[in-house]
């Protein structure tokens, strides 16, 4: 996306950033070799399990932690060594961190006050922000008099009021109940589009990451495993961890028969051959065994003798909108099919042998 400065559309450039806590044998590598470019105006998500380094990376961007190695530029400017108050970046904290001795309006106006803006401008922006997050009626309240969702809105307004270039959000929805979280997801997306500010969002919730992000990075053990659009991450995972962490999936161990370009032909149990996509940077050798994935909704149950695979039904679990049918392939590997409950279909009987038809091009060969 082009931007007004006539410079590149990159908001944050992270090069080979590492962060080590402690020394010697007890050293903990919280971040290793992080290379990442976040574009101006995008909703970017860092996704991973707790302890994967996503919050440390966010704190490095905010300036609360200094990287042990590597470079970090915000809008082309090297910010390593800059204190948090010198960076045009604001944070929405996981516990909101609202100042308990200040009113809602004072909380929201704090950043502008510290920047030395005139009183009239602070008042006007505070009003505008309270309107933006629908908290006008609460201006004189203290944070302790607000509900969790309201505190969340104030924290957002407070971070947005100084109009930062980048808004960092550290698992801001994790303390809310399910219904409120869904509401705030929509609300956050709306605010991001309306303000045009670059959002960097940290979460361990894969659904949240898929629904809100323009792009996301999946992290584990201090590294970025895969970077891409939600669609790419979900449908073309490159690593076992990514495939496993995002949604449910079927792992198959299969033999390589032929390799051509970015694809490979794999031998399925039962003797048939199937074309599969191969993760970037990977060239499987003919005759070796590889790990491949396919999502449960990318296979259909068909009459016995048709389809690419043959399987025995082990059971079915009803989930309302869909049913998960657990199967075992002819060579003993487990397989799950997700079937939408569009029709009042009868579940296949336990022990019954059925055929499986796989969506063409859905099978993906993983790294490692």
């Amino acid at each position: 996306m082009p931007d007004g400065d006539g410079q590149s559309g990159n908001e944050i450039e992270i090069e080979a950033v590492g962060k080590v806590f402690g020394q010697g044998d007890t050293a903990f590598h919280a971040l290793s070799g992080i290379d990442l470019t976040i574009r101006t105006g995008e909703f970017f998500t860092l996704l991973g399990p707790s302890g994967c380094g996503k919050t440390t990376l966010l704190r490095v961007i905010a300036g609360f932690e200094h990287p042990t190695s590597g470079r970090l530029r915000i809008k082309g400017q090297d910010v390593v060594g800059q204190a948090p108050n010198q960076r045009l970046v604001n944070t929405v904290f996981q516990n909101y961190a609202l100042f308990p001795h200040m009113t809602v309006a004072q909380n929201i106006g704090f950043g502008l006050k510290m920047l030395g803006r005139p009183r009239a401008e602070i008042a006007a922006t505070t009003d505008e922000m309270m309107h933006l997050v629908k908290m006008e009626a609460m201006a004189a309240r203290k944070p302790s008099e607000l509900s969790g969702g309201q505190q969340q809105r104030v924290a957002l307004a407070r971070a947005l009021a100084p109009r930062p270039r980048v808004l960092l959000l550290d698992e801001p929805l994790s303390a809310l109940d399910l219904k409120l979280r869904k509401e705030m997801q929509t609300e956050l997306k709306r605010l991001q589009v309306e303000t045009g500010i670059t959002f960097v969002f940290v979460t361990h919730d894969q659904e949240e990451a898929l629904t809100m992000s323009d792009r996301l990075a999946v992290m584990n053990q201090g590294r970025i495993l895969q970077l891409g659009s939600p669609h790419e991450i979900y449908h073309a995972p490159t690593e076992r961890f990514v495939a496993d962490f995002i949604g449910e999936t079927n792992f198959l161990t299969l033999n390589v028969i032929a390799v051509q370009g970015r694809g490979a032909d794999l031998a399925l149990p039962g003797g048939r051959t199937i074309a599969a996509r191969v993760a970037e940077g990977l060239t499987p050798a003919v005759g070796t065994t590889v790990s491949a994935v396919i999502r449960p909704e990318q296979a259909r149950i068909v009459p016995q003798g048709t389809g690419e695979l043959s399987a025995t039904v082990e059971g079915a679990v009803f989930f309302g909108t869909d049913t998960h049918i657990h199967l075992r392939l002819s060579d003993g590997q487990p397989f799950t099919v997700r079937r939408q409950n569009n029709d009042d279909l009868a579940d296949p009987a336990k022990g019954e042998t059925v055929g499986l038809s796989l969506t063409p091009g859905a099978l993906q060969v993983l790294r490692g």
Binding site: A62, G63, F64, A83, P84, N85, V89, N90, T91, F93, N95, A97, L98, F99, P100, H101, F110, G111, M114, L115, R158, A159, P162
Partner: protein, 267 residues
């Protein structure tokens, strides 16, 4: 019955012990207050209501002298001690672990652990040396001694408050463009006020109360109220002492009530 919660009321003799303790704590004070209004000079026989001992106390220029000295000494010593204790508390909670931190705690709290008589004698010798060397014999020694003694009492509540404060609040202030000084002024300090008030009041009460330190450090004519009253008791006990003690009791009740009002409003 085994599943019932532990209940102290069920302990045999609990009520009796509680009542006995309360009586021992408050009965002497009540008697002291009652006899401050006694017409007669007796501490045991009631001779009718009178305010004459209060009048006597107010007309006794020595009592006024030592009371004023006690009050300003307590104010100044507790004030300086609170400032120093706040700085010490910030250094021991906001700087991160450093070598010798545990020893620093011990050093700051030293007056709580060393018997007062030891501190007193040490101060006596040290102050006598300084008086000879400098020729100065003013109240400076008393202020310094009381301040040193008050520091741990002021330090403990302030440190406790800092330790329970959410560190992300200061981080949020820094994130919102506050310089370290602004973050302290607008966020840390306002939230620290209840701890500072508590620390000051503890220091004030301790300074007002201490006999041993004063006795060893004071020069001629530097009596505080406690040392003056002790001196008077050696001669004759009159209800005038009761009246003075009652006035100070009233003062401390006012101070403590104020403290509760301030902290409740903030909390």
């Amino acid at each position: 019955m085994a599943s019932r919660e532990f209940n102290v009321r069920a302990l045999p003799g609990f009520g009796a012990v509680a009542i006995f303790t309360l009586v021992m704590l408050y009965l002497p004070i009540i008697i002291l207050v009652i006899f401050s209004f006694n017409e007669s000079q007796s501490q045991s026989a009631w001779g009718g209501f009178s305010l004459k001992w209060y009048v006597a106390a107010f007309n006794n220029s020595q009592v006024i002298d030592v009371s004023v000295r006690s009050l300003w000494l307590a104010l100044v010593a507790a004030g300086i001690a609170t400032v120093l204790a706040t700085l010490a508390a910030l250094a021991t909670t906001r700087v991160g672990r450093f070598p010798g931190q545990t020893m620093i705690y011990a050093l700051i709290n030293q007056p709580l652990m060393v018997p007062e008589i030891v501190t007193g004698i040490a101060l006596l010798i040290f102050v006598a040396f300084l008086k000879v060397q400098t020729g100065y014999a003013g109240m400076g020694y008393m202020v310094a001694a009381h301040t040193a003694f008050c520091i741990p009492f002021a330090y403990l509540p302030i440190r406790a408050r800092l330790e329970t404060m959410d560190l992300t609040l200061e981080r949020a202030a820094a994130d919102l463009y506050a310089t370290p000084v602004q973050a302290f002024t607008y966020v840390t300090l306002p939230l620290l006020v209840p701890g500072i008030v508590a620390g000051f009041m503890l220091g004030f009460v301790v300074s007002l109360d201490t006999v041993v330190i004063t006795e060893f450090v004071k020069s001629a004519g530097q009596d505080t109220l406690p040392t003056y009253m002790l001196g008077q008791l050696r001669r004759s006990v009159t209800p005038e002492m009761n009246a003075i003690a009652t006035l100070f009791l009233a003062l401390s009740l006012v101070v403590v009530s104020l403290f509760f009002l301030i902290t409740r409003k903030r909390g």
